[in-house]
Amino acid sequence: MSDPAPRKWEHRLRITLWVLIVPPTSWAAHFLFSYLWAAISCAKTGHFATMPWLFIGGTVLALAVIALAGWVAWHQSRTPGDPPPHQESTRIDRLRFLATATLLLAALSTVGVIFTALPVVFLRECT
């Protein structure tokens, strides 16, 4: 197993599988938050738009976390190495593959969060 990892990238190569699921987990947290926010205020007060700033804040936070994960992944994917398809048994290719997958998931999660937020733009009532 030849593994020509330059020393200066060494710190980047120590990663875990958990980073892959940061963007979709942010989507899931935002989704759950949106659902609970709407369901609880509808059930308890009968109308949902009592705290739109809470919702907007939650949405911005989720997008920020996804953007951050995407930014890190984008930098990781630019670690010097072979071009795609990242199919060598080296730590660099493994890193660049995981980074690409994380970047793609960040894109999907961004779309997901925006989709989730849209109903609040158009709907103003519980029933």
Binding site: M1, W27, S89, R94, L105, L108, C126, T127
Partner: protein, 840 residues
């Protein structure tokens, strides 16, 4: 041993003899059922699932026969209700999910170049649970006792014992039992993918099938437990009259619908993704090139898995939930089309870029994609809430779900059947019969289900045993019935093809010229899995690594021998697949089967209200589990290290985070915690449903004092276990014994104090949903305190018996992990029931 030793044919022959002896299947009419090797258990599993599919298919045909003409009297309404309930339940619980597990148990070790999955006996346990539970649930229709409330069993129809009979209990308890086996399989598959890959197979080289299986097994961990939580509440209501779903006593039937569909929608993707995973294996083979867009497939699998948990309410669009909630779920339902489409485009692109060999498996694969896409498009339609309000509970939905499930699960499995049959039997199926069957199936599925779109839009409701002639739906229904029988004829041709297979000659090894590891398998039926565990440098090693097959066969890679006469495989690290250890695998034994039957007896006897006998069954189950663990796990090896070739020496014992057992405990406890969160969801759901909570008349229970005592005692038990672990690692056995004894006493105290809260305040669980959910949360946590005591006692006994030492400490590390989850549930439960009423 050096590389050159393997040049000696006599040595290779001796190694093969030893491997063959170690991996030999047990012989004899009775003994052969003790086998736990993946090739045997996987084959039984597949066959059983296939038989259940045929059985459920016949139920479907009976329904279509009844609906062929208006006002038919072939089958009465009561039987019809049982038919559609059992058809759906069996296809989902006894065919689609177990079939994915079965196929994975066969394929995964081959794909990963492992001798077997890390817990072969757990696979056997899962199989016997599945068989027993499946026969119990499926057989009920022969006694006119099958469940009849629809495959989703909505209360209050199903919880009121005057409206539905024993069938509802059979569904709940029988299928809960099968869910246990699904979670067992999920544990096995996740640990298999993460820890048993061959050296060098980093995450970026993993076969896509393994990626999909990893994702799906993780989905099972989060999808099935909410249903188990729902089952617990459901049976509490049916057997003990605790009113969780009874609106007259503060319950809410919608809680069941939430818990069911939190399971039910991911379930669709749980059965879809593994079938698509088969495409990811066969498309590159027949396109004769690497799959394009490998990270895109990972995106699709992971993205679908996450999004699928945000879709459940789209089954509940007509229940009167706030429109804004419907909006969120509608949005997520539209978003999930993105990753689903990505994988389809990846397959199309790969075929486009390759030199396609139009084989029979590929015909099934492309045909099923066509069928699936139609189902996907109607899915986009019903994801729009206003459209769904019109189409809900009509045959339009029946058409949609059958296009999705047949195109997304059944036909891909047939593709996999034609593709992998030579791997299992050494013989190819007939191309002529296969293509004939495909076209019959393809015509049948469209003739059966396409007219249902129309009959549904014209007003044909689901789950009715007949319809009046004036509706004008006779012709469409007749077409559907003809299509159903045509489809059945296609399945019959496939069955015939399989029956003729033993008469055909052996195929070549790797008959499709595939590039992935599973095709190293010998047609001549060697049980050892793989001759030597290779070093992987490519996604398609058979294509890309020179002389790969020969080197594997001549034992030139790792672990080519079984000197100590033990079944072994290599454990590697999660990300980079660096070799970490050699583990000894379970051998054939009765204990998995006995455990499955003992556990099954608990569920089955409870169904018939034989609680005394069920209690005996529980004690027997516990005894079996302890016997299994004591004799078969965390064995201290005869030497610390073992050479595996190429100058590598690996330890024979590992514990903590690098060990498969630790991962298995972690994964099991994730499932356990998810089920627990389903119950906690129930508590807060009731809070949103009541003006004041707890309801005023019941506001004085359980108080904050006893819950806080229970919380503290649980915390003390956790801390003492942690201290016992560090005492053990210092070699202080006496201190460890003392600390563990203290931990047991604290856990017992926590359980007693937990019960004291609702008991002393006189909360009556039959009176209202509030005391019922408080009691349920308490009992769940007290039961875990009981488990903690048993585990601590077990560890203590292991330490005193010398089976656990300072270095060989897997037992206490795994129990500590359990205690982390235990303390979490203690804090959540007692803070919820003790403190939340104070602040709400």
């Amino acid at each position: 041993m050096s590389l050159h030793d393997q040049d000696d044919p006599a040595l290779r022959c001796a190694q093969e003899e030893r491997l063959r002896a170690v991996w030999a299947a047990p012989k004899g009419i009775f003994l052969k059922w003790t086998d736990c090797n993946n090739d045997a258990v996987g084959a039984w599993y597949v066959l059983t699932g296939f038989v259940f599919m045929l059985f459920a298919g016949v139920l479907g045909l009976l329904m279509r026969a009844q609906l062929a003409v208006p006002e038919n009297d072939l089958i009465g309404p009561a039987t019809f209700n049982q038919l559609f309930t059992l058809h759906g339940s069996m296809m989902m619980f006894l065919f689609a999910v177990p079939m994915f597990e079965a196929v994975s148990i066969i394929l995964l070790p081959q794909l990963l170049g492992a001798r077997d999955l890390p817990f072969p006996r757990l696979s056997a346990f899962g199989y016997w649970s599945f068989l027993l539970g499946g026969v119990f649930v499926g057989g009920s229709i022969l006694f006119n006792a099958a469940p009849d409330g629809g495959w989703f069993m909505y209360p209050p129809l199903t919880t009121r014992t005057d409206l539905s009979g024993i069938g509802a209990d059979i569904w709940m308890l029988g299928l809960s039992f099968i869910e246990v086996s699904s979670i067992a399989a999920a544990v096995e598959l996740i640990v298999g993918v993460l820890k048993c890959r061959p050296p060098g197979m980093r995450l970026n080289l993993m076969p896509l099938y393994a990626w999909y299986i990893l994702v799906v097994a993780v989905m099972i961990l989060f999808a099935f437990p909410p249903l188990i939580a729902g089952d617990v509440l459901f049976e509490m209501e049916r057997l003990l009259n605790w009113p969780f779903f009874d609106a007259t006593r503060g319950g809410d039937p919608l809680l069941w619908q939430h818990l069911f569909w939190i399971f039910g929608h991911p379930e669709v993707y749980i059965v879809f993704l593994p079938s698509i995973a088969l495409f990811a294996m066969l498309v590159p083979t027949f396109a004769r090139r690497h799959l394009l867009g490998y990270p895109w497939i990972v995106l699709a699998a992971v993205g679908t898995a996450f999004l699928s948990f945000g879709l459940w309410v789209h089954h509940m669009f007509t229940t009167g939930l706030p429109k804004i909630s419907l909006g969120f779920f509608s949005a997520a339902s539209e978003a999930v089309t993105i990753p689903t489409a990505v994988q389809i485009f990846v397959f199309i692109a790969t075929l486009w870029a390759g030199r396609v060999n139009w084989s029979t498996p590929l015909l099934y694969a492309t045909g099923s994609l066509g069928v699936f896409v139609i189902g996907g498009l109607t899915g986009v339609m019903v994801a729009v809430a206003p459209f769904d309000w019109q189409a809900h509970d009509t045959y339009f939905v029946v058409a949609h779900l059958h296009y999705v499930l047949i195109g997304g699960t059944l036909l891909p499995l047939f593709a996999g059947l034609y593709y992998y049959w030579p791997l299992i039997t050494g013989k190819k199926l007939s191309d002529r019969l296969g293509r004939l069957a495909f076209w019959i199936l393809f015509a049948g599925v469209n003739l059966c289900f396409f007219p249902m779109h129309l009959s549904g839009l014209m007003g044909m409701p689901r789950r009715v045993f007949t319809y009046p002639e004036e509706l004008g739906l006779g012709d469409l229904n007749m077409a559907s019935t003809a299509g159903a029988f045509l489809f059945a004829a296609g399945v019959a041709v496939i069955c015939l093809d399989m029956c003729l297979s033993p008469r055909r000659p052996l195929a070549n090894r790797n008959p499709w010229n595939a590039g992935t590891l599973e095709w190293l398998a010998h047609p001549q039926d060697e049980h050892w899995g793989i001759r030597s565990i290779p070093l992987i440098e490519s996604r398609y090693p058979i294509w890309d690594q020179p002389d790969f097959m020969r080197k594997v066969d001549e034992g030139r890679y790792f672990l080519p021998d079984a000197e100590e006469g033990r079944r072994e495989t290599i454990v590697t690290s999660v990300i980079d697949a660096r070799p970490l250890a050699v583990i000894r695998l379970g051998t054939p034994a009765w204990v998995p089967m006995l455990t499955a039957f003992a556990l099954g007896s608990v569920f089955i006897l409870t169904t018939y209200h034989l609680y005394g006998l069920a209690l005996i069954g529980s004690v027997l189950t516990l005894a079996c589990v302890v016997w299994w663990l004591w004799t078969g796990t965390a064995e201290i090896p005869e030497k610390p290290f073992k050479p595996i070739g190429h100058g590598l020496e690996l330890p024979l014992y590992i514990s903590g985070r690098s060990a498969p057992g630790w991962w298995a405990m972690f994964i099991t406890m994730m499932a356990d915690a998810t089920a627990f969160s389903g119950l906690v969801f129930g508590y807060y759901f009731f809070w949103t449903r009541h003006e004041t909570f707890p309801p005023m008349a019941l506001a004085d229970g359980p108080g904050w004092f006893w819950p806080m005592v229970a919380l503290l005692a649980g915390g003390v038990s956790w801390l003492l276990t942690l201290a016992a672990r560090s005492a053990n690692s210092r070699g202080a056995t006496g201190a460890m014994a003392l600390l563990l004894t203290g931990a047991m006493l604290a856990a017992l105290g926590s359980g007693a104090a937990g019960l004291a809260g609702p008991w002393l305040s006189g909360l009556n669980p039959e009176a209202h949903s509030y005391p019922a959910i408080v009691w349920t949360l308490t009992l769940w946590t007290v039961a875990h305190a009981g488990l903690a005591v048993i585990m601590q006692a077990y560890v203590l006994a292991r330490g005193l018996a010398g089976r656990m030492t300072a270095r060989h400490d897997a037992d206490i590390r795994n129990v500590t992990l359990f205690m982390h989850f235990f303390v979490l549930s203690v804090v959540v439960t007692y803070a919820t029931i003790g403190l939340f009423p104070e602040v709400s």
